[in-house]
Symmetry: C2
Subunit: 349 residues, 2 copies
């Protein structure tokens, strides 16, 4: 019994090559049927080329979508006007139950907006959140959310992010009792800004393993499995990490090249940096799930290669079989409805 | 003519050894007289030991302070109760005009609170800000502010940070026309949270080289000389950068050790990582100035070594002679008083 996964074939910067290769890789090794979404004639030709080489009969089908939302397009406008975009066609397959999940490496803002519009939110969830698995020195990923879906949050949004992130870590990443931290600027409960100080007691009252405030450096040291923050702070932390990661790598590479003989240096660089890249590779974790929508939507980086696409499909497959969304729904069904004025004094908006 | 600089002798984790060594280093090479602040008998003995070895007559004087505020003490309480702390004694020398600047590598929160209390704010500045020079791939540092003095900011605070940061970059770092960016989550003016969207037009209207919104990764790529943000976001970005920097270094070191023979690896690690450490070393930049107080106060990292202390003294010396504070004062004197209700709708508080 194969799981049907829809894949945006025109998402990556080099689309559709990485998508087609990633789909083939996934169909070879996972119990999935991949639905490629994009311009049918072009995809058909390319797919035939690749499959001709292999002589394989793989469970890959193509759904035509005439429009593509580019990386630099304004999400709100593009989502409204491009009614036959690969995002919308793919997510409709999920809504109609024809696919168990959707994977894209395209415009993140447009993907989130389309997913919210087409799939709708899970009952009880005020705002879906984008969750990014970050690499840690302990080996286990740390799920950081939100990283950009919601720039101005209320305390009750962070509370819901905690519930969703914990459930995802438990159901999909198979962590028995995920440690959930609140991103702040000091460990004590009293440290932080208005938002985190208000969110702290809400998270403390949840039936989760809340470990209190954590700091920026704790994203990478493996002390937490889930870290909750508003989307502005999360996005800055994510981008700053990408920036310093690249900087450190460049500086070290230059230092190595200068301090050893050229041959040894070249050899070393190749081996060590290849291994380094594998360990640090965010794409190994398969993209960021959008949590809180009715269905599975995984959003990858525009620079995703075929392995990243493969991992996105793998994560969508695991997510869809994990029952995480059903559990999130149950968690919210059992909770009292938030009062409309709840936390209104401290809202950032 | 020597410049008098007060130095907290009991700030670093290994105090007072790095402080005494750093003071000696500074007095040997810079036109400064260093006032060591701390327990006099102990400092006298240690200083004599070091000077005996050298047989030098250096311009170092000692001011007794009977109390020390530890790293883990709550700033507000410690500042109130420890009335003879090294922080207070040192900053009083600045207020009384006996010293041109103060340097500490002690408790950051306590140092900021004491500086605000003892020195007071510059006229027109609502809130002082802690500015950290960050290393960039282009070689020039990027001044990030605020990194923790103000967790909940109004748009007009960010506007003032921009004025102060720009003036500091111009006067002390000698950058002719500093490029000032607003830390956000997208380049367009419309991107960001309520706070940054309100701050954007204020910064745009300033007589500075405002380059618009920048993202987390731009802290390290040298595209901006000054980046403005609220203290919560700045602190998370700073700590996340420290965390990923350490993580990347550890992963690369492990990769190197695994992929080359032990001997070559050890040699390489030593040379390359030493050079790497120098380039990435935040302490090379001499600590973080607290901008907006009446006087010069430089706050370094608790792990500062003698070179970092030396650099802190060097920066305090340059800052005090730069006229930056006078120019900041002039900049605010020429500006209309902010209306009390200005930006009240969008305040985070």
């Amino acid at each position: 019994m194969l799981t049907d996964i829809a894949l945006d074939a025109v998402g990556t910067d080099k689309a559709p090559e990485p998508e087609i290769r990633g789909a083939i890789l996934a169909c070879r090794t996972l119990p999935v049927r991949v639905h490629l979404i994009g311009p049918e004639p072009e995809l058909r030709d390319l797919l035939d080329e690749h499959l001709e080489d292999e002589g394989e009969d793989l469970p890959i089908v193509i759904h035509h979508a005439s429009e593509r939302i580019a990386m630099d397009e304004k999400a709100a406008h593009a989502v409204r006007t491009k009614r036959d975009s690969s995002l919308r066609v793919g997510l409709k397959l999920v809504r109609e139950g024809k696919c168990a999940g959707f994977v894209t490496a395209g415009n993140t803002g447009a993907a989130m907006a389309t997913a919210k519009m087409v799939l709708g939110g899970l009952p009880g969830v005020d705002r879906p959140a984008l969750a990014t698995p970050m690499p840690t020195s302990k080996g286990n990923p740390c799920v950081l959310l939100d990283v950009g879906a919601n720039v101005d949050c209320k305390a009750q949004n962070l509370e819901q992010f905690a519930v969703m992130g914990e459930m995802y870590a438990r159901s999909v990443l198979k962590i028995a009792r995920p440690r959930v931290g609140l991103l702040s600027i000091g460990e004590e409960e009293s440290k932080g800004n208005e938002l985190t100080r208000e969110a702290f007691p809400l998270l403390k009252a949840l039936p989760i393993n809340f470990i209190g405030n954590v700091e920026g450096r704790d994203i990478f040291n493996g002390q937490a499995d889930v870290i909750v923050c508003d989307g502005f702070v999360g996005n800055v932390a994510l981008k700053a990490s990408e920036g310093i990661g690249r900087f450190v790598r460049d500086v070290l590479r230059a230092s190595l090249t200068r301090t050893v003989t050229a041959q040894v240096g070249a050899l070393l660089s190749r081996r060590a940096f290849n291994e380094f890249r594998r360990r640090l590779d965010y794409t190994e974790y398969g993209g960021a799930p959008l949590l809180g929508v009715r269905g599975v939507c995984i959003i990858g980086h525009g620079s995703s290669n075929e392995v990243a696409i493969y991992n996105g499909i793998r994560v969508a497959h695991e997510f869809s079989r994990s029952g995480a969304n059903e559990r999130i729904e149950q968690a919210f069904a059992g909770r009292p409805k938030p009062r409309p004025d709840h936390g209104a004094d401290a809202t950032i908006q």
